[in-house]
Symmetry: C2
Subunit: 324 residues, 2 copies
């Protein structure tokens, strides 16, 4: 393993050195300069702009729990590993800057598979100007990838989960349930190469520009990304804020051909859930992504699903069972 | 899984909130203030002292590769997960401040096991005043823990691997091979509860105070921690620096009852390997830990093992095969 490990690290390092910069991010990008990247015991960042704060997130992707190696292409997994981390930074309204990657590689991941995996990951990294600055590598029986993403945001003004307040309007971006539908079709093995739900599942788009728009232009109060499903993620947001919510079933934007159930409990849509003061009116779309009001923040801690007939019932909290 | 996951996260969060501060670290600790910890999409740090830089490291611990669940106690694994990350920060001469933990939990990790695991981890965290500020949790077939440690160090003065220069003296802390010997005894199942080699393997001590001493008082040039074994780690250090080394077999401090082979190629000792300008004379011990000169940095890129009879032969680079 050890010699092979050095070979793999060198390959990753070579790819990492090709990352490009994204000058348009301005102050957010300039706030943290990389002093030392891959190849040492730790990476080192220097703070150059004290008005920014550093965001750190970690996300696991586990074989058997989050994907099936016979169904999920290596390139899509590379994309998704990084997209999950970037989505967390988007959910704070920040700009992602650097990533570290810990990989546990079982025997079935050959050179070709790994090449495709890294191609998917580095393609997305280049799109957003992310530099890979460190990581760890191990052999093991199951594939596991842990991505760590560091980002920058204006100090004290990030989109926290705990800032939802009674009377605010709850919004969601995009349409929900597409990833759950895509996973179902992928596992059944019956779909067209251009199937939009399958693409949504395999190549989710982190809503980075939207996150910054929510923070800087809409002054959104609370926000998070939908990784496990609307019902459980809304539960998390309201719990952190000490509030409840009324969710309007008819208002929830459902992905074409998906069910309301998939929209409520399906995971991995990576859309943003956020709250706005009722006086603030967001545009109907941001860069083509619909922004839809789906409910209100209420006193107490109950989550209520309001049906088409106005009937109120407790929102079932199921969350996406990642198991595939 | 999901409801159970929320339960586990709440337990971890409760423990994390009990972490204590270590005021004696002064400027290093004050450099990065935690703005937002566990419970959001990302953690947030604010930079308060622009003379410091931020260190980030990630370390995987994988069932079957790094440990065997029937041999390694849960408490020792919790300790070791964090110790591995802290050792990387020690190897840079920095002070660890914050940690994030990604866990993949298989069915066999029950509540009691997890409690012991977290007890081992948080005990070490409290010793060093580390706050756990985030993480991720997944189900899966094998136990995997990825620890991310953030630390602080004086800007531009960290112990990098790439700074070894021809003519410098190579040093190592402590005695080597103890962890490899301890692992052998542990797997054989024949050892006393007080066995020092087994303790060394199960509860390694990150050399944090030594790392800062090397940086601040000895002005060490290059440094790294010995996680995979002296031979492969020396190879990494010299490769990063573009140099070679002569290693004196008789000078290598061998752990009591361990073999020279275990000292050369055994992993997980977590001692520090460093280089000093020949004019600098370190003390023979630092806080009871021997500091031993074991060779010199040479031109060219060859690693040579000099035998007791003065015979020179290429240093075999094997590294510790983590497989247990």
């Amino acid at each position: 393993m050890k010699q092979n490990e050095l070979f793999i690290i060198n390959k990753i390092r070579h790819k990492a050195s090709q990352s490009v910069d994204k000058p348009e991010l301005g102050a957010l990008r300039r706030a943290w300069r990389l002093r030392l990247g891959i190849g040492d015991d730790a990476a080192a960042l220097a703070s150059l702009d004290p008005r920014q704060e550093l965001l750190i997130t970690t996300d696991l992707l586990v074989e058997g729990a989050h994907f099936h190696r016979r169904r999920h292409p290596a390139r899509a997994l590379g994309h998704k590993v990084l997209a999950r981390g970037l989505s967390d930074i988007a959910a704070m309204g920040g700009a992602p800057l650097y990533a570290l990657l810990s990989l546990c590689l079982p025997g079935w991941t050959g050179e070709k598979w790994l090449k495709q995996f890294l191609a998917g990951l580095f393609r997305l990294a280049r799109q957003h100007g992310i530099a890979l600055i460190g990581g760890d590598l191990s052999a093991g029986n199951r594939f596991v990838a842990d991505i760590i993403v560091l980002g920058s945001a204006p100090r004290g003004r990030i989109l926290e989960r705990g800032r939802a307040k009674v009377g605010q309007i709850l919004y969601v971006s995009g349409r929900l349930g597409g990833s759950a539908l895509g996973l179902k079709r992928l596992l059944a093995g019956r779909f067209q190469p251009t199937d939009r739900a399958v693409r949504r599942h395999l190549y989710p788009t982190p809503r980075l520009a939207l996150g910054r728009f929510l923070l800087e232009k809409l002054h959104a109060a609370a926000g998070m990304d939908l990784s496990d499903g609307l019902s459980i993620d809304l539960y998390r947001l309201t719990r952190e804020s000490g509030v409840g919510a009324d969710l309007l079933a008819t208002a929830i934007p459902v992905f074409p051909s998906a069910t309301l159930n998939q929209a409520l409990h399906g995971g991995e849509d990576y859309e943003l859930l956020f709250t706005l003061d009722p006086r603030r009116k967001p545009p109907a779309h941001f860069e083509g992504i619909p922004l839809t009001p789906i409910g209100t923040i209420t006193a107490g801690r109950r989550l209520v699903l309001v049906g088409p007939d106005g009937r109120r019932k407790p929102l079932p909290i199921r969350g996406f069972q990642h198991k595939v």
